[in-house]
Symmetry: C2
Subunit: 116 residues, 2 copies
Amino acid sequence: MIKVSVMYPNRAGVRFDHEYYREKHLPLIKASMGEALKYYTIDKGLAGEAAGAPAYVAMCHLMCDSVETYRSAMGPHAGEIRGDIRNFTDVTPVTQVSEVVVENSSRPATPEPVKV
Amino acid sequence: MIKVSVMYPNRAGVRFDHEYYREKHLPLIKASMGEALKYYTIDKGLAGEAAGAPAYVAMCHLMCDSVETYRSAMGPHAGEIRGDIRNFTDVTPVTQVSEVVVENSSRPATPEPVKV
């Protein structure tokens, strides 16, 4: 499984509408991607190291089976989704694709394919 | 619930032992924090925007009930855990505390306390 992390850099005076992000933007991504999006998570930045400002004002993480699944599902909607960003923030996100090494340490991992 | 994200910046020639991170470092954090750590996730950076290098070579996210719970559990072990970092990497992580707005969009949210 892969995770696409979309991270919105924090700065003094940053504009970020967390309610719009939660109620409109992520539902738009979900509706656009359909079944290709297994699930998502949303984080709201509270603090950095030693209680300073957080590096990111908000993040979301989109979980998909593979990079190909993500690209196929997101591709046709990328313009619309990018265009919605100005409705909740004035910063440009940093995007990263990661392999999910451990999805949730409290739950058993997906079994490896049996080698024969 | 809160999430402590520990993000290891990527750079050309970065040293990062993903196996040690998964097999030793996160289990050390888990053993140190005990019940205060609800669960963790591990990400391995694959790519950034347009398939460039990822911003972070690896990340973990530690889930706790509150910032206070995290600080109390981590405090006595912070030195040992920080000291272990050199065993798997030569970069210094960026740490951020976030409020978990949506933990997993495919599962029902924790109910809000009933207002009376």
